[in-house]
Symmetry: C2
Subunit: 227 residues, 2 copies
């Protein structure tokens, strides 16, 4: 992992200007918490599985994938983290997934120690951490249902609706990730993802302008497909 403190891109800013809806909101107001900014190039590792969890991160710009690997290289992406999302929050001492920048990405990070310090005296801080962890758990529970029981088409429909909700601007979404990432998120191969998207395109449910620029033309239909 790159060491943030050695980077020329580092700057120090005080947390305390929480925007509405900011996931850092609950902890941002705490005096004394200092956030550092840092940037990662496409495909750069932010932290590795089982590495010490010394920082907590928030995406400012770009996109991050967190995943687990099996010994033979099979990969399961647990979540995509988009601007505003917090990731890398752990209860134990180490990270349980690897985090990588999907595209050039900027993150804000705070020292885990200082967060623990703040949490020791401020109930609102711990409460904020609890809510963020509970959000991750909710996502994981929904995703277990998808991975264990949904068909390929249902998985892709669910994915499209999730991404539409999280990153659509003006009815259009620009996916940061490739087909292989989508497959590894949905428990499918990249070919199966591609075929499902092609079929949805043929049926007029979505439109492409470039493989990663997608506009949903029939959300209702898609909701009906996600089981």
């Amino acid at each position: 992992m790159l060491t943030p403190s050695l980077s020329p891109a580092v700057g120090h800013i005080a947390l305390g200007t929480a925007r509405p809806g900011d996931q850092f909101g609950a902890i941002a107001g705490h005096a004394g918490l200092v956030a550092t900014e840092f940037s990662y190039k496409k495909d750069a590792e932010i932290y590795g599985e089982d590495e010490p969890a010394d920082y907590v991160y928030q995406v400012i710009r770009g996109a991050v994938r967190t995943y687990k690997l099996l010994s033979d290289g099979r990969r399961q992406i647990g979540a995509f983290h988009l601007p505003g999302d917090v990731f890398g929050l752990e209860s134990g001492a180490t990270h349980r997934l690897t985090a990588e920048a999907i595209i050039d990405t900027s993150v804000r990070l705070v020292k885990r120690k200082s967060l623990e310090q703040a949490a020791m005296t401020d109930v609102a801080v711990v409460r904020g951490l609890l809510d963020m962890t509970a959000d991750s758990l909710k996502h994981a529970e929904d995703h277990m249902l998808l991975l264990g029981r949904k068909t390929a088409m249902e998985r892709v429909a669910t994915f499209l609706l999730e991404m539409d909700r999280r990153l659509a601007v003006a009815g259009m979404m620009a996916l940061p990730m490739c087909r292989r990432d989508i497959g590894d998120y949905l428990g499918l191969t990249l070919e199966t993802v591609s075929r499902a998207l092609s079929q949805l395109h043929d049926e007029g449910v979505l439109g492409f302008s470039g493989a990663r620029q997608i506009v949903l033309r029939n959300r209702q239909r898609l909701r009906g497909m996600d089981a």
Copy 2:
């Protein structure tokens, strides 16, 4: 859902005798928290998906499954809860999975409101809730890898090692759940689970004394199979 307060089986006990390793440990010491005991018959629903989350539960005796359903009845069990385990802990207002007793089961429960009250003033309580939620998240992350990327045999091997760790006594485990439950936990059919177990039996990796009494004869081999 049955209403605990109407049950004849109800009794009131003060939390405060935390055993070492008790998952309730961090919150049990808090003065004023009252736990109620309650029992459920085999297959009884403890709470339903989207019902108000008014209580948090701990298994005393028996076993609980928590699951999500798709509209056509496909089911994904997210976790099995065994004696000592806490379940039903939510950040939002409602439960996100359904909970059912697998066999006759006793639970301890505390009012969510009183927990929130305690959490408001006591950092240790929130911290306890955070740690328990983080444990659930860790399990969910591991399970996503299993559901998305492991083969049937790898899933069953992982399941056996998990149950061995959690409920083996004297090298033997008594599974409380049927093959269908195991399948719905692992994202497989009950037939596939049965075939995998039979194969492991034929290979001498495990022994049966009744379909649900299993003894692992070669844990190392099993660990090698769980990928």
